[in-house]
Structure formats: structure tokens, C-alpha cells
Subunit: 377 residues, 2 copies
């Protein structure tokens, strides 16, 4: 057995999700509830009827990569050769961390709160990890100065998720520019910036920084999962500089060969129709209603600028224990936010993708449970 | 950059495939040319219209795993919990090698000729590899005694592909039993036996051993790619003992999260219809015609008992150089078989999945080229 794998803990989010019952108000899993457009599946099926369903090149089909490169148009990353199609963004994250760092000497700087998977992959791959933890007293703002001050001499990769899972905070254009300028001015080999931008299409501010636009060593990662309600399709991609792409594609070949041909046809249809941010107004409306419901129930929250999560404060520092009793006693699933950063002890991550009356009822029960826990002390 | 990845060479098979032109007789890539049944895609699309396309559990959907466990019915491995659904068999191979071995002390015994990917993954993961090389003078027979004699004290995994890519040789029932009995009698922790059985449904002998039937520490790996002409669907699976499955599923979560929900629906349809070996008679007929064509052209070959490859002897020990001139001068792609084992220097792997007149013409040109190379010396 590989001791590095045995030493990691499994996904808490998936474990809590597994406790879902038919009656449960589920504010846990980060998955859209909107239905995907079935016509894309129908057209991809027609294509298979004509062409079969054969391997794609390891890197992905040229037409799909070309459509993605053109759509995002990141300077220096806008050639089809800058795009590798992956099995969801998860594989893209894995390939990026695994391929671009030397475990013997390189270090990651991870901006937290963060989805736990980055740290788990670093642990499995034996790569040193440094953390910069943003504080709820600052609204967990993705502050460029705070992030840059944490760079170490061995830092060869900065990992940033913006819009952030779990806070929904977004790095500003000025913040992105400051990070880019500082990293470019740094002597020595480039620091790769893994920008997990999986919530990029769900942004509710005009001031969203895009690292790919300003920093040529950006590894931008995205997928159809969140924008198009296609979590089960497993279609993602990464942008990377041309000089490192052959190594990434080679590792992709060993870990999964290539992404699904069928899923790539669906991606082609979606990019041809520029159907990527169509759901944004619905999410913006949900956010408005969810924050109103949080306020009505007296719940303190971090104001999101993107994604579909709301971090709410329940106070109890035994956050996991709080969540377990919340499930047992009130049939509501939420995620302990200290799973994403120690600074979020006493906070929950809630998804606002459920029917709005369920989100409201969920917040009512969370507030009620928080009050009961305080009383029982 | 990860130096272990940088040190591996890329896929020669894919590189040669990339030289294909419209006129090329392609006997290179290991991919069926039969068309998949489109009705499975239609039914899966109908399911998506009703249910959406959401995440599956990391391990895969229970109904799919249950259908696979029941179909193969390997003793001790026939519970749905013994099956993990993966992104093609490639990810299954990666997870198995990555998870079940400790790079600090364990060693793999690889039976060659073998698909190069096993050795590349071992190299990337820093796992020691021992080889047992079968010889063409013995028809590259998968001889249990030869294999078992090569076990070392640190061997914790035996990797065997039967039917073999590239030779098409199959381990016998008695051979499988002998391997199982010897490994079970060995003191110390179990030796895992990774049985890559991706060509299991394409077997032309009644005496095909199945390791999963006789050895409980078998990691049996398969997919829909070869049996159902669905290489581009990326739907595979692995069987593993219950005690190691949580570690494998955890690593699967980090590397790709879960297999495609859409592809799993197609798998469910195929297993419900027991539509897995339907194409076998067509391949058996192709084999008969391909070996006849090889004989007509005076080409020595290894008699396959499964899969869809024929290894033919061209004599030239500079096999890659021979293949490159074969492509340049005669517009035929075949794979240097010494890519699979040093013992196959002077041999080519040819696929007999093309139209039979193309296979015949390919062999004619290969024989002609071999004769010309001999004359030019």
C-alpha cells in the first residue's frame, strides 16, 4: 500500500452527502440543480451515429481546444496548443500539481479558505505546502498584498480559486494585476499560478480579475460542471504555457489516456453556441434571496461575489460536531467551513442551488440549531 | 517540473498514429473499426433528460457496479463493493499501481511482451520493476513456470495482460491455477495480481484462464473500449478486494473525482443486454483471414488466441527504423513490437481491425519492404 495515500483522509463533503435522506434539506454538495440542455446530448449522439466513438488525441480534439482558446483569449495562452482537455477539472488540478512541481525542492503556496483537494494532492505527491489563511474578520477578501507577503523562496506554484469555494469572494482586476506584476518581477524560474476558475461563469461583480489575462504562467482550470449543470459529464480543461504542455499531456496519457470523445462533442456545441453564462441571472437571483433569508434569520455571512455558496456563522467552534447534530436533529446538510480553512471555525458552507423555499427553511433550522446549541451550554 | 515525468518518453504508438494520411493503410492503433450501437447513447440521453447529469459516487453507481460484479462473478470479488468504475481502463491501471504499492520497498514483476504503459507508470511513481521476458522462439507463451520463476522477494504485484497485447497469447486455465496456487502458498503479505483483461471478450480458445476466478488478490481491469468499440467513451472498471478498495477510491477521487454518469448509463444498458461478446465472431473471422494473408506473403507470425493483433516477423533488428521507412516508402503504419519487449526485435505488431483487403495489402507491402531491406544490405 502507498503510505502517502493511506495517510490522507477521504472527502468529508462526500461523506456528509452520503447521509442524505429523501426528506433532507441538502445545502451540502457543490452541484447545480438546474437541468442541462438535452439537445447537446442529442446532437453528440447523432455525431456518434455517423463517426463512432473513437479515441481523441491525448491532448483533446483540435476543434474543441481551438474553440476554448478563442473563447477565453488569454494572451500567450490563446493557441489550441495551450489547451488540454481533461476528465473534469479534478484531473486538471491533479495533472497540474503532479507535473509542474519537483517534490524534492518545490513548494506550493495555497490561498485558504480553499477546496481541500489541493492540499490532499500535495500530500499524496509529497510536495511541501505553505498556506496563507484569509480571515473572516476581513471578509476573507482575496487581498493581493496578503497573498504576496506569504510567498517563500521555494514557492514555485501559487494556488488560487476565484470565485472562491467556499466564500464566493473574487480577486479584483487590480489584485490580479498586482499578483502578476510581482510574480513577473521575481528573479529565478517562473512561479506557476494555478487559477481554479471553475466558477468563472458565475460572477456577480464587474471587477473580477482573470489571471490568464495578465499573467502568462497561469494554469487556468475550468469545466462545464458548474456553468452548464454537467458535473456528471466529466469534461474540463486546463490552459498552460506551450513549453510545459508536452509533460502535462504525457502525464494525462498515463493517468487517463484522453477525455471522452462524446463529452468533447458536447463541449464543442456549447462553445459554438456561447452558452456558458446563460444560467448566471438565475444564480444572481438565488444569491439575493439567500442573503435575504440569512439576514431574516439573523445569520452573519460573508458576502459572495461569485459561485453558489454562502458561508454563514453559527458560532460553535466544534463545527463538525455542530453539523452532525444539525443532520441528526434537523435534517439539514451543510459543510463545516473549517474544512476549507482553520479561520472558518464556527462557520458553515451552504449551497444556494436548492429550491429557494428549501434554502430559506434550511437557514431557519440552522439559526434555530445554533441558538439551541448556545442555550445548552 | 517533476523529474520523474520528464524522464519518461511519450507514447510511440500515438506518435506513429499521428503520421496517418488519408491514403495510409493503418495497422497501428489498437482500436476497433466496428461502429458502436447508437441506441445505447439514445437511451442514456433519455435518462439525462429525466434525471440530469449529476456526479456519481466516487466509486461509481451501485446499479452499474452490481451488474458488473454479477456478470463476471469472480469468487470473493462479486460484491458491488469490489468494483470501482474508472475513466477507461487506463485510469484503473494507474490507480492500481499507484495505490497498492509502497515505492520505498515494493517491486512489480511485469510479464513482457507488455503494453508499455505499465512500465511508464512504475517509472513515474518511482516503483521498482522486474521483467520476465517471454521469447518468440516459445511463441511468447504465457507459461506459468517461467513467470513464477521470476518472482523476487520484494515482488508485491504481478502484472499480466491476457489476452496479451501485442501477441494475442492467452494464459491457460491450468496456468492461471498454478499461478494462483503458488502465490497463495507464498509466505508474507499477498502478491496482488493485476490482470489486464481488456481483451477478455475477444478470445478464440476454450482454454482461457481467468485470474479473478481462481485468485482472490486479483485486480481485474477491463472496459467497454475493445469489446464494444467505445474507446472514446472512457468507461472502465477494476475489481479489487474489499479491504483495499477505500484507498483506491480515495485516490480515484483525487485524480478524477468519478467516472462519467452518461458513460455509466451506457454501461448499464450494455450489461443489461449482455451485449459484450457480440462482436467476437467477426474478430475470429478477421483473425482467420489475417493469418491466411500473412502466410500467403511468407510472413512468420505468433498465433493469437485472443485480442486483435498479429505479431509478424520482418527480421530487421532496427525495428523502429524499419517502421519509419515502411511509413515513408509504402504508406503502411505498424508498431515496432520491440516497444513491448526486447525479445521482439525484428517483429511488428499489426492490428487486424481494418477492412480485410487493407490488412492483406498491408501484409503484402510489409513483406515486400522486408525483402527490399534485406536486399539493400
Amino acid at each position: 500500500m502507498n503510505p502517502a495515500i493511506a495517510a490522507t483522509t477521504g472527502s468529508l463533503i462526500r461523506a456528509l452527502h452520503a447521509r442524505r435522506k429523501a426528506t433532507t434539506i441538502d445545502l451540502g454538495l457543490g452541484e447545480p440543480t438546474l437541468m442541462p440542455k438535452v439537445e447537446y446530448f442529442e446532437r453528440a449522439t447523432e455525431w456518434v451515429a455517423e463517426h463512432g466513438c473513437r479515441y481523441s488525441p491525448n491532448i483533446g480534439f483540435e476543434d474543441v481546444r481551438s474553440a476554448i482558446a478563442r473563447h477565453y483569449d488569454y494572451p500567450g495562452l490563446n493557441d489550441p496548443g495551450n489547451v488540454c482537455i481533461t476528465t473534469g477539472s479534478q484531473e486538471a488540478v491533479y495533472l497540474t500539481i503532479k507535473t509542474l512541481l519537483d517534490p524534492a525542492r518545490d513548494e506550493i503556496l495555497l490561498v485558504e479558505p480553499a477546496f481541500p483537494v489541493y492540499a490532499k494532492i500535495a500530500q499524496v505527491e509529497g510536495i511541501a505546502l505553505r498556506r496563507v489563511v484569509l480571515e473572516p474578520k476581513d471578509g476573507c477578501a482575496l487581498d493581493a498584498d496578503t497573498i504576496l507577503a506569504a510567498l517563500g523562496s521555494r514557492t514555485r506554484m501559487l494556488i488560487l480559486c476565484s470565485p472562491c469555494n467556499p466564500t464566493g469572494r473574487v480577486i479584483s482586476k487590480a489584485g490580479a494585476k498586482k499578483i502578476a506584476d510581482t510574480l513577473l518581477a521575481r528573479p529565478g524560474p517562473p512561479v506557476y499560478l494555478m487559477h481554479d476558475e471553475i466558477y468563472r461563469e458565475l460572477v456577480y461583480t464587474d471587477d473580477a480579475g482573470e489571471l490568464g489575462k495578465v499573467y502568462p504562467y497561469t494554469i487556468a482550470i475550468n469545466s462545464l460542471s458548474k456553468s452548464n449543470s454537467l458535473t456528471g459529464l466529466r469534461l474540463g480543461w486546463l490552459f498552460a504555457p506551450l513549453d510545459v504542455m508536452p509533460q502535462i499531456v504525457k502525464m494525462h496519457g498515463w493517468s487517463s489516456s484522453c477525455a471522452s470523445t462524446f463529452a468533447q462533442r458536447i463541449a464543442l456545441e456549447i462553445f459554438a453556441a456561447t452558452d456558458l453564462a446563460t444560467a448566471r441571472p438565475w444564480y444572481a437571483k438565488q444569491l439575493e434571496r439567500a442573503t435575504a433569508a440569512a439576514r431574516e434569520n439573523g445569520l452573519e455571512y460573508i458576502e459572495p461575489e461569485g459561485a453558489f455558496y454562502l458561508c454563514v456563522r453559527v458560532g460553535d467552534p466544534k463545527t463538525l460536531q455542530f453539523v452532525e447534530s444539525l443532520i441528526d436533529e434537523r435534517d439539514v446538510i451543510a459543510i463545516p467551513a473549517d474544512n476549507f480553512a482553520a479561520s472558518l471555525s464556527g462557520w458553515l458552507r451552504t449551497s444556494f442551488v436548492a429550491e429557494i423555499q428549501d434554502v430559506r427553511e434550511g437557514y431557519r433550522r440552522i439559526a434555530e440549531h445554533a441558538a439551541a446549541v448556545v442555550r445548552s451550554r
